[in-house]
């Protein structure tokens, strides 16, 4: 293996460890960017140019930025800093080490059966586009539908709730609704008082 791979692998693992152990959540998100960039470099070194660029665009450009946005949006106003780690975090680290041991031994066992000389040429981007449009046309359509549904769902989930929904819920609970006036036709005041 080239020294470049070891450098990138070390960078990736260090970024991951920092992302999972630092105190400040914003620092965690920025270390995650280091991990994503290291993985993109590893993809490029393996000859998967398109995948490396997709990693940069999707993970660094979209997912990490989204994480930072949500971190800043959910900065708790007051309430104080709660304990970040679970009380049983040592057990979690132990479980991680066990998983690493089991999967690592599985990799070492399986590696003997894989021939060494299999190394296809890097796939040019033109061929990826052609295959996406012919052989993988149906999965591409399905992934488009999935992304659209996820986008609409995320927008609906993150949207502020409508006043009418709250009024209906207040009427259903029978809370703060004057008998006779509420219930069937909740007014704007009753909707506001529930919130």
């Amino acid at each position: 293996m080239s020294p470049m791979f070891y450098f990138l692998a070390g960078l990736t693992v260090l970024g991951a460890l920092a992302a999972m152990s630092l105190r400040n959540p914003v620092h965690c998100a920025l270390s995650l960017v280091v991990t994503f960039a290291g993985l993109a470099g590893i993809y490029l070194g393996m000859g998967a140019q398109f995948l490396g660029l997709a990693q940069v665009v999707v993970y660094i450009g979209a997912v990490a930025i989204l994480l930072v946005f949500v971190l800043l949006l959910t900065r708790s106003a007051g309430g104080g800093e709660q304990e970040e780690r679970a009380p049983s975090w040592r057990m979690a680290v132990l479980v991680g080490l066990l998983v690493a041991g089991v999967m690592g031994s599985a990799v070492m066992t399986v590696a003997r059966w894989v021939p060494r000389d299999a190394a296809p040429e890097p796939v040019p981007v033109v061929q990826i586009g052609r295959v996406l449009m012919t052989e993988y046309a149906l999965p591409l359509q399905v992934i488009g539908v999935v992304l659209t549904v996820a986008m609409i769902g995320a927008a609906v989930l993150a949207m502020p709730e409508k006043r009418g929904v709250k009024a209906d819920r207040g009427a259903a609970n029978g809370k703060d609704v004057v008998p006779g006036s509420g219930g069937t036709s909740p007014t704007r005041e009753s909707g506001r008082s529930v919130s």
Binding site: V13, G47, A62, L67, A118, P120, L132, P139
Partner: protein
């Protein structure tokens, strides 16, 4: 160490790190970060098997990794929207304070 084993060991380390973090952290966003790390480890093993595995098909593994990245993006968007909705109701993203469904 063959290239395949080196890449798979890196993927295992990433996966274990993400899993330990997802179990240990109590901020919902950082748990999502751990899940992202695990997904990236899976992607890395897809690409490693595509490049160094015995399968002569030139692009199947690459396509798998590509679609996996798209699914991960959708998952991150929905997960973060859920966290935002949760924060709007509870004013916190601390997971230990969400115990209504505890049996």
């Amino acid at each position: 160490m063959t290239p395949l084993v080196a890449h798979l060991v890196l993927a295992v380390m990433l996966f274990a790190t993400g899993m330990a973090g997802a179990l240990a952290r109590r901020n919902a966003i950082l748990v999502l970060v751990g899940v992202e790390l695990m997904l990236n480890a899976g992607n890395l093993s897809f690409v490693a098997f595509w490049r160094y595995g015995p399968n002569p098909d030139p692009q199947t593994g690459l396509m798998f990794a590509l679609f996996s990245i798209a699914i991960a993006a959708a998952e991150a968007a929905v997960g973060l929207a859920l966290i935002l909705a949760m924060f709007r109701h509870r004013r916190t993203t601390h997971l230990d304070s969400l115990e209504e469904m505890k049996g």
